[in-house]
């Protein structure tokens, strides 16, 4: 064999071996990814709750996205919105894929892949109870068809009217909430049952009124894997066993003793209770709450920072950042706005009950004078106690959250700043779930440029800067000639 041939052969072998090394490094890096988001907004960074849900995932999850960027091609605005949404979803789902190696994402254009979409419609049954078919945007398939669920467009985005553009624009991207909710539903079965106590003038989830009505909360129920139901206790001998949380949403009169004893019994069985109280009403719950080391004063307190008005703004800096409920809200810097709240504060006298406060307006420095007694201006408290289950001998944890206002979750108040987030965080804590992160606000940012500014920008970008290259070329040419 010629010497050159041997050299070439050796070179080929070395190149081939080095390629194997490179592929091996690539393979190792694929198995152990390290991902950092350097952006300030961190729009697609997954919340601790999502990370925890994905940590529980140990079988194949196929996510099929049915989205066409050319949807409603006659409407370019819609196409642009779909393209932006597709990009948001792509970025977010990529984070899901990175976090769990069991996840695979498949994108299907329903207008281009019509046959495949039809097959999917048959496989996953997109038919509504009324016989019509609604195409979801995302299908979640766990364990090769063992369990499936769908997410629709309305679950992913919220819209609002833009005066400036004279059309509806996307105001919130709720992708993470919707996707994590769907995965959680597949992993942990059905929705958690949350009962709202009905009667005694308490707010109703079927009431559409702005003040007092709670119907808007229903929209969150589905997304958060919750099943909201009304509960009329007068016809019951026990609070249903499947009640994972009982909400008492601002009763307007005293609860019957019979109902109070059922609630007490529910708590002693490891129940979870969320009590929302209003000013000037004796509900009969005072004694029960006192036994849980929580004191209430049914007199509305005024916001010390305001001269008049009934609204009471609690800034996120006034939240207790050691409590899991308010800790999640602090990271999002969401304030909470109450309407005529009352003082609710924890005492810590009995060691078997662990109490905590949620927020302390004014840092607790300014005590409120109630009938001559100086009280801390605390508007929310929690308590938890371990109770033993007589049947299984298992130790259960009863939990209680009391907030000195119920209007903050009414149809007229839930959209204000972090009000819904506070309610959902309270439910999450009661349900032992990781606290959810609120949907990402799509900032409505648009450069306000005059025609003159646009022309100037165009000239600088496309004429002046490239002209520098021409000037440099001429300078070099001149120097070379010289």
């Amino acid at each position: 064999m010629k010497r050159t041939t041997t050299t070439h052969l050796r070179t080929i072998i070395i190149v081939f071996l080095s390629l194997i090394v490179v592929l091996e490094i690539g393979f190792i890096s694929l198995r152990n990814p390290l991902r950092v988001d350097l952006s300030k907004q961190k729009l697609y960074q997954l919340s601790p709750r999502t990370r925890s849900v994905l940590g529980d995932l140990n079988q194949r999850l196929k996510i099929i996205v049915l989205l066409s960027e050319a949807a409603q091609a006659g409407n370019p605005q819609s196409a642009m919105e779909m393209a932006d949404l597709a990009l948001d979803m792509r970025n977010l789902l990529e984070e899901y894929e990175t976090r769990s190696r069991h996840i695979t994402v498949e994108w299907v254009d329903p207008y281009r892949d019509m046959n495949y979409t039809r097959d999917l419609a048959i496989k996953y049954d997109f038919t509504n109870p009324d016989g019509t078919a609604t195409f979801p945007v995302v299908v979640f398939d766990l364990g090769d068809g063992a369990k499936t669920t769908c997410v629709h467009l309305n679950d992913i985005i919220d819209r609002k009217w833009s005066e400036e553009l004279q059309r509806t624009v996307v105001s919130e991207f709720k992708g993470e909430q919707a996707f994590t909710g769907a995965i959680r539903k597949l992993l942990h079965g059905g929705n958690a049952k949350v009962y709202f106590l009905s009667g005694s003038g308490a707010g109703s989830i079927n009431d559409n009124n702005q003040m007092g009505g709670l119907s808007a909360l229903r929209a969150f129920a589905q997304r958060e894997n919750l099943d909201f139901q009304e509960l009329i206790l007068s016809s019951k001998s026990i609070i249903p066993e499947d009640a994972e949380v009982l909400v008492i949403p601002g009763p307007k009169k005293r609860l019957p003793d019979y109902e109070l004893s059922l609630i007490e019994s529910y708590l002693s069985r490891g129940g979870r209770l969320l009590v929302l109280l209003d000013d000037g009403i004796e509900t009969g719950l005072e004694g029960l709450l006192r036994s849980w080391q929580i004191e209430t004063v049914p007199i509305a307190v005024a916001d010390p920072s305001k001269q008049s008005g009934s609204d009471f703004l609690v800034k996120s800096s006034e939240f207790n950042f050691e409590h899991p409920i308010t800790k999640a809200l602090i990271t999002e810097a969401r304030d909470v706005c109450f309407y005529k709240p009352i003082i609710v504060y924890p005492r810590n006298e009995e060691s078997s009950i662990k109490t905590g406060y949620l927020f302390l307006p004014g840092g607790g420095k300014s005590a409120v004078d109630i009938n001559g007694e100086l009280l801390p201006p605390c508007l929310g408290a929690t308590a938890e106690r371990s109770v033993s289950n007589a049947l299984g001998g298992r130790s259960l944890m009863s939990r209680l959250v009391v907030i000195g206002d119920s209007d903050f979750i009414s149809n007229g108040g839930y959209q204000i700043s972090g009000n819904t987030a506070l309610f959902m965080a309270s439910l999450d804590w009661l349900l032992d779930r990781d606290i959810v992160i609120s949907p990402k606000k799509m900032e409505d940012i648009r450069p306000s440029l005059t025609r003159k500014q646009k022309v100037k920008l165009f000239c600088v970008n496309i004429v002046v800067i490239p002209a520098v290259a021409v000037a440099l070329a001429l300078l070099m040419g001149y120097r070379r000639r010289k």
């Binding site: 300030k40 940012i445 970008n461 070379r480």
Partner: protein, 249 residues
């Protein structure tokens, strides 16, 4: 090391004295300027800030431009010298081949970085625009610049290898374009449209368009970084071996 710096200096001088350098620079700057103006237009039209940021370094205009621009930078590196007969003369000297190849590579990389300089001017301009607080996002810009450098390092290495393999500049440019554009297009299609999960993973791992979209939104992923560093090093290693083989024959 002195050899390397002497060669590097010489290569840099040759590069900035060539008229092709400024023609490429002119067209690339027109393109990046148009890209920036287009993303501002998108913002005015109501596109979210996140989308606009991704267009800054990961826009489709740039994804198409890079496989065209890089071959124009690298085509002359070795092929031109070989055509003029100066390369063979260089190889007969005691100069080490790796230094020679690396000097050419880094000079091209420096020129590539110069090409991206106006992007900094655009970002400064964007920072002064009324009504767009938070744009540009500093972290995302840093990641974007890092991404641009990584993609450039691999593209230039491939272009240099093609230049080493050919003695004709045009052939070197066309083959570089074919390899860069062909692989970029195929891998992007695989990454986004493949029905097969395995092919999609391969596409996602190698597609520079997808990587630029990630870098532009501030994501720095160890897989991408290692892929570019390792593959650039490997392609350079092959280029060195090819040059050494030519020296030997």
């Amino acid at each position: 090391m002195n050899e390397f710096f002497a060669l590097f200096k010489k290569e840099l001088k040759t590069c900035f004295l060539s008229p092709v350098t400024y023609i490429v620079m002119f067209f690339f700057w027109v393109l990046t300027g148009a890209n920036f103006f287009w993303l501002l237009w998108q913002l005015i039209g109501g596109s979210p800030l996140s989308v606009a940021m991704q267009m800054m370094f990961g826009g489709p205009l740039l994804a198409i431009a890079l496989p065209i621009v890089v071959p124009l930078i690298t085509m002359r590196l070795v092929a031109e010298e070989r055509k003029q007969g100066t390369f063979e003369a260089l190889l007969t000297t005691p100069l080490q081949v790796p230094f020679l190849v690396l000097a050419k590579y880094f000079s091209a990389l420096i020129y590539y970085m110069v090409l991206w300089l106006p992007a900094i001017a655009y970002l400064l301009m964007a920072g002064k625009l009324p009504g767009v607080p938070g744009f540009p996002d500093g972290g995302a810009v840093l990641a974007g610049i890092f991404g641009v450098m990584l993609v450039g390092s691999l593209y230039i290495a491939i272009g240099l290898l093609m230049s080493c393999l050919s003695s004709n500049q045009i052939v070197a440019a066309i083959s570089s374009f074919a390899v860069l554009f062909g692989t970029a297009l195929t891998l992007t299609l695989l990454a986004y449209n493949s029905q097969s999960p395995s092919l999609r993973i391969i596409g996602q791992y190698y597609s520079s368009y997808k990587h630029m979209m990630d870098f532009s939104r501030g994501i720095v992923d160890s897989r991408m970084v290692l892929m570019y560093i390792c593959n650039s090093a490997w392609v350079l290693f092959v280029a060195i071996k090819v040059t050494e083989a030519k020296k030997g024959s």
